[in-house]
């Protein structure tokens, strides 16, 4: 069975993932919209930066974040100056890292969904008296709904599954940064295979269930299944 310590790590994991997913959707929506519409020369570089975590080892990303957010890093100096202290080895440091790490999993499905909407629907909305903001909410968001569901699910599950990045910037502090993946590692290190099984099984079941929902329930195939 799950110990209360294990249960705490699960709770913390879902807390990090929920907050990170919310932030990713808020940041990712305008970013994906811009990327799907712009003809700017910055489109390529920004796309590449957003996609970097897809190919970069999490430890590399974690290492740079550790340096940047540390007391001598740019972000660290800024957060110190703001009176927030430094972010590494804190809950919010973990959230920031998770957002950067999982952002491509949110931005890319959204970008694909937005690109599919095309400008015709927006032009139709404009000829029907809808301002650009109005048409974004009344046309783009409903049409991109499958993309949003995919983005939220992938962003959430990917955050739940992170490990290397957590070790680099979060460490292993109970109730602050000790997430499930780290806890499983702890159990294995201590040769507590039964405990590791329980937690690993929970994650496996969770991940399989949401992906099953994603691949069977969402009708629009190209938007919902970007990684098929």
């Amino acid at each position: 069975m799950l110990s209360s310590e294990d249960f705490d790590t699960l709770l913390l994991t879902f807390k990090v993932a929920s907050i990170a997913t919310t932030i990713m959707l808020l940041v990712g929506t305008p970013l994906a919209w811009w990327l799907s519409r712009t003809r700017s020369v910055w489109k390529g570089p920004i796309n590449a930066i957003v996609a970097l975590p897809l190919v970069l080892p999490p430890t590399v990303l974690g290492f740079y974040l550790l340096v940047l957010m540390g007391p001598t890093g740019i972000i660290g100096k800024l957060t110190n100056w703001l009176g927030l202290g430094t972010l590494p080895f804190t809950f919010y440091g973990l959230v920031v890292g998770s957002v950067l790490y999982s952002l491509p999993f949110v931005v890319q499905p959204l970008q694909a969904a937005f690109a599919m909407i095309g400008k015709q629907s927006l032009e139709a909305a404009a000829t029907l008296r809808a301002s650009p903001l109005d048409s974004f909410f009344s046309v783009v968001l409903p049409l991109a709904k499958p993309g949003f569901i995919t983005a939220a699910i992938l962003g959430f599950t990917h955050t739940v599954g992170e490990f290397g990045l957590v070790l680099m910037i979060g460490g292993n502090i109970p109730n602050k940064t000790r997430v499930v993946s780290v806890q499983i590692y702890n159990h294995v290190e201590a040769l507590e295979y039964t405990d590791a099984h329980w937690l690993a099984g929970c994650l496996l079941l969770f991940s399989f269930t949401v992906l099953l929902v994603l691949y069977t329930q969402i009708k629009s195939p190209t938007m919902a299944q970007p990684f098929k």
């Binding site: 015709q120 629907s121 032009e123 139709a124 909305a125 404009a126 000829t127 029907l128 008296r129 809808a130 301002s131 650009p132 109005d134 048409s135 009344s138 046309v139 409903p142 049409l143 709904k145």
Partner: protein
């Protein structure tokens, strides 16, 4: 009478548009031309979907764009209706919600009455609960037209609304468009490359070529201008406005009158005095110097030759006046010289065939 004044200049590198145009504020103005002639771009400029760097647009006395004074009303603030080539319905909304989309955004309680009339006019009452993906192409386009009209716009802009439909669907929609034509009291600007749609719908014909204005004027006048390629075309024709005078049911014929005479047509079973459009192809018109006394052709009319051009091949085009009505005849250059036809001569025309357009 208020007018539509439109002047646009824009440059996209391989394509440029440079037109200065005045259109009447009633009836259907058709923008006609080949693909690449700029007709759709011009329509999009009027809608504000395209922002011409140089532009002036005034509709019903209100300025929608004036680049010199940096005035540019965004599309969503222009009281227009727009029908796209593809119906462009919102796929996440039912037909009724599509029809209500614009209506909800205008402060005008006339809207709902207008909407119900429009639903009747376009025959889409039975489709209201359906999703757009379950409609046929023709039904979708009718909903799109109703959606635009429901806003009670000051001007209706239509961009090749029939181009994406097959022949059968086109024939299904054209009658609705003709009905609109008769019942709408707002100006319509209609883009097409189809001569059939021109004949059926245009009151004013605007011809564009490579982003330039080639001609603009009342339909019959523009159709019969000999300096335009249209008159030389194999499909060259003139459209007459006629009205039903009497039915000769014994012979299954209908006599219609126009400004300058009358024609016999195959029976058209509509009430006396109904207005109709009749199209006469230039190739169906022949010319005689004396009134033929023995001919099987029913429609023989006295006419005055108003203009002549000789083509490079065997063909000559003769423009004639019958009363106030203009008519084109395609004859051979040989006949032209054998008969000694000259401008100002009085002749007779024999019309071998006519087609009724609505």
């Amino acid at each position: 009478m208020t007018l539509i004044k439109a002047r646009f200049g824009l440059n996209y590198g391989d394509f440029s548009l440079d037109v200065d145009l005045t259109l009447p504020s009633t009836g259907v103005s058709v923008l006609f031309g080949h693909s690449g002639s700029g007709k759709t771009t011009l329509l999009r400029c009027i809608a504000g979907l395209e922002h011409a760097a140089q532009g002036y647009l005034e509709i019903n006395g209100r300025v929608w764009q004036d680049s010199e004074r940096k005035v540019f009303l965004p599309t969503y603030k222009r009281p227009l209706g727009y029908v796209f080539q593809e119906a462009n319905l919102f796929s996440h909304l039912t037909v009724l919600a599509n029809l209500h989309y614009g209506l909800k955004r205008i402060k005008n309680n006339l809207g709902l009455i207008k909407l119900n009339q429009t639903i009747d006019l376009l025959g889409i009452g039975h489709l209201l609960a359906r999703m757009p993906s379950t409609l046929s192409g023709g039904e979708r386009q009718r909903v799109a037209i109703a959606r635009a009209l429901a806003l009670n716009p000051e001007i209706l802009l239509m961009d090749e609304p029939l181009a994406s439909l097959d022949f059968k669907r086109k024939q299904e929609i054209l009658p609705y468009l003709s009905r609109l034509h008769q019942q709408l009291d707002i100006p319509v600007v209609y883009v097409t490359h189809s001569q059939q749609e021109v004949a059926q719908l245009a009151d004013t014909l605007v011809i564009l070529e490579e982003g330039r204005l080639l001609a603009a004027g009342p339909l019959a006048e523009t159709q019969s201008r000999l300096d335009l390629p249209l008159a030389q075309d194999r499909e060259a024709a003139t459209v007459w406005q006629v009205s039903i005078a009497e039915h000769e049911r014994a012979y299954h014929l209908t006599r219609v009158t126009f400004d300058g005479g009358s024609l016999s047509l195959p029976l058209i079973d509509v009430p006396i005095a109904t207005a109709l459009r009749v199209q006469i192809y230039a190739r169906d018109v022949s010319i005689t110097l004396v009134e033929p006394s023995a001919t099987s052709i029913l429609n023989v009319l006295p006419a005055l030759i108003s203009e002549i051009t000789e083509g490079r091949d065997s063909q000559a085009v003769v423009q004639l006046l019958i009363g106030q009505q203009l008519l084109l005849a395609h004859i051979t250059r040989k006949s032209l010289s054998l008969l000694g036809l000259k401008i100002g001569m009085s002749v007779f025309v024999q019309i071998k065939g006519t087609s009724i357009l609505n």
